[in-house]
């Protein structure tokens, strides 16, 4: 699949923003950060920026954005509709939560709880946009939603820790208000383990062959069409919509190097940098987000659509 920058930015940025919403709401529920305090406002502002930026970036993927407002029409069947709806519902809920918090209402606890649920739901919907496609076997796995949720929580957690390290909550040390170092480390290690498991699962797996795509049996009675099918001529002389959209190729040696760089940026680097105070946490957050972009790029670049079979690829 073509790794489109707009979609990569959308999933990484909105994911981190939604993760930040979750950690912010947890800190508020636990009484570790005061509503209306400087770090709280910093968190709210950064989350809104990341989520809004991500959603705006996603509209850059539309060839006819004038009709973008119609994307809520099929909530009953389309994960893309569900994602759009839950992301848009976050705004009024977040506004209500800010108002309740500033008014000092006890109902803010309820709105914080709802925000956690809705933010996580939005991340799951984003992941299911990809995980529901039978045509892309490397997306249709439990790893997809697991990775999206773990990366959102880890990215949001690192950003929240970084914010707290720069703008400490009054009367609390950064470590006490943000996610604990061991919680972050657990998330980072889990995310890396799921990714490694995903790579192992699909490294040598054949999900479908050209024979499946053309319904030609490998063995049949003599005289009938049978045996391995290969392409003679693809029927077009120049790139088409199909080759542009689904024909992206990543040579294996480069893929292996990029996977290693991705694991370095999303696991090894942040786990090491977390030990080095405020500057370290910021660097860890930046390294993780850059690594997330690389992870998402690989997620698209290495996904193989079954239409590639008709273009002559023996198997996907």
């Amino acid at each position: 699949m073509k790794p489109a920058l707009s979609v990569i930015l959308f999933t990484v940025s909105s994911g981190a923003g939604l993760g930040l919403v979750v950690w912010l709401a947890i800190a508020q529920l636990a009484g570790r950060v005061a509503g209306g305090s400087t770090p709280w406002w910093a968190g709210v502002g950064l989350a809104a920026l990341l989520l809004t930026g991500g959603l705006l970036s996603s509209t850059a993927h539309l060839a006819n954005p004038r009709n973008g407002w119609r994307s809520l029409a099929r909530v009953r069947s389309s994960w893309l509709s569900r994602e759009a709806l839950s992301a848009l519902l976050l705004y009024p809920l977040a506004a209500l939560h800010v108002a309740l918090t500033l008014a000092g209402s006890p109902a803010a606890a309820l709105s914080a709880g709802l925000l956690i649920v809705l933010a996580l739901l939005t991340v799951v919907c984003t992941a299911m946009i990809y995980a529901c496609l039978k045509t892309v076997p490397r997306w249709r796995t439990w790893h997809t939603p697991a990775v999206f949720v773990l990366y959102a929580l880890a990215g949001g957690g690192l950003l929240w820790s970084a914010l707290l390290a720069s703008v400490p909550a009054a009367g609390a040390t950064p470590a006490a208000a943000g996610p604990s170092g061991s919680a972050l480390a657990t998330l980072l290690v889990l995310a890396a383990l799921v990714k490694v498991g995903y790579f192992a699962k699909f490294s040598a797996r054949v999900s479908a062959t050209l024979n499946d795509a053309l319904a030609v049996p490998l063995a049949a009675p003599a005289g009938h069409v049978q045996g391995r099918v290969r392409l003679l001529d693809v029927g077009h002389a120049h790139p088409t919509f199909l080759t542009d959209e689904f024909g992206f190729d990543l040579p294996r040696p480069r893929a292996v190097r990029l996977r290693a760089a991705m694991l370095l940026l999303t696991a090894v680097a942040p786990l090491t940098l977390l030990w080095f105070g405020a500057a370290g946490v910021w660097l860890a957050a930046v390294a993780f987000l850059v690594g997330s972009g690389l992870e998402r790029w690989l997620f698209f670049a290495q996904a193989q659509h079954v239409v590639r079979l008709y273009h002559g690829q023996p198997q996907v």
């Binding site: 699949m1 993927h61 539309l62 060839a63 006819n64 954005p65 004038r66 009709n67 973008g68 119609r70 994307s71 809520l72 029409a73 099929r74 069947s77 389309s78 994960w79 893309l80 509709s81 946009i129 529901c132 496609l133 039978k134 045509t135 479908a208 050209l210 499946d212 795509a213 053309l214 319904a215 030609v216 009675p221 003599a222 005289g223 009938h224 069409v225 049978q226 045996g227 391995r228 099918v229 290969r230 392409l231 003679l232 001529d233 693809v234 029927g235 077009h236 002389a237 120049h238 790139p239 088409t240 919509f241 199909l242 959209e245 689904f246 659509h305 079954v306 239409v307 008709y310 273009h311």
Partner: protein, 235 residues
């Protein structure tokens, strides 16, 4: 209620692409299809939107090989995932005849339906930013102004080998149902579970071809003469 679709005879198809060009000709300016534009048609790298593409394959091992010319267009699936995933409601499947269509007035050009289609049957029109696909010539097959014999998709009418047949698969007396039953017509990529309507009639059994006699052993006079002849040709 009917289940309209195509039965494509892979024994008869000669791979001439007449169906694909006839489709372009009819749907190029069709209001129902929204048009099938060409990009830079006379330039160095012409491209464009096609609702139907013909590809050529070979099955089996020498000497028992068979050439397969396979036209691929929308299969008008009964469980059409392209319709399920569409967020705007632009993609829909008609209840009365099962034809899958796109409403360009609603399409936002997100490509999601094209991702969901295993057959590559959907292509984005870059000029309008909306999705295009086979309409089964819905603006021909019900047109009372056309003579009854011409109320068929353009690809079917154009096929010089009569490899394409159009009809209602729910009617056991229809040509497509009879051909499918008689020839063992199969759907493509059945295991994805989309229940495609179109059927492909596999080539009839071919005569057995005997393996060629063994090549003369190296070093014999016959083999040397043959090598010499080959070299002379390449001079």
């Amino acid at each position: 209620m009917s289940r309209l679709g195509l039965a494509i005879d892979l024994d008869a198809c000669v791979g001439c692409h007449a169906c694909a060009t006839a489709c372009k000709e009819w749907n190029g300016r069709s209001l129902m299809a929204g048009g099938a534009p060409d990009y830079d048609p006379y330039g160095p790298a012409p491209s464009g939107v096609w609702f139907n593409r013909v590809r050529h394959y070979e099955a089996g091992d020498y000497p028992q090989t068979r050439t397969l010319n396979v036209p691929l267009s929308c299969m008008h699936c009964e469980d059409a995932d392209c319709v399920t995933v569409c967020p705007t409601g632009a993609s829909y499947k008609r209840a009365e005849d099962g034809i899958v269509l796109v409403d360009p007035e609603k399409c936002m050009g997100c490509n999601y339906c094209a991702w969901a289609c295993p057959y590559g049957a959907r292509e984005l029109d870059q000029t309008s930013g909306t999705m295009r696909k086979c309409t089964l010539c819905v603006d021909r097959i019900y047109d009372q102004a056309l003579p009854p014999a011409e109320r068929q998709p353009a690809c079917v009418l154009a096929c010089p080998a009569h490899a394409r047949h159009f009809g209602d698969f729910d009617d056991p007396g229809s040509t497509v149902a009879q051909l499918t039953a008689g020839r063992g017509g199969v759907p493509l990529f059945e295991q994805l579970g989309y229940r495609p309507v179109n059927r492909y009639l596999p080539p009839r059994p071919a005569a057995q071809v005997a393996a060629p006699a063994q090549a003369p052993a190296r070093g014999t006079l016959q083999a040397r003469l043959k090598r010499l002849a080959n070299r002379l040709i390449q001079l």
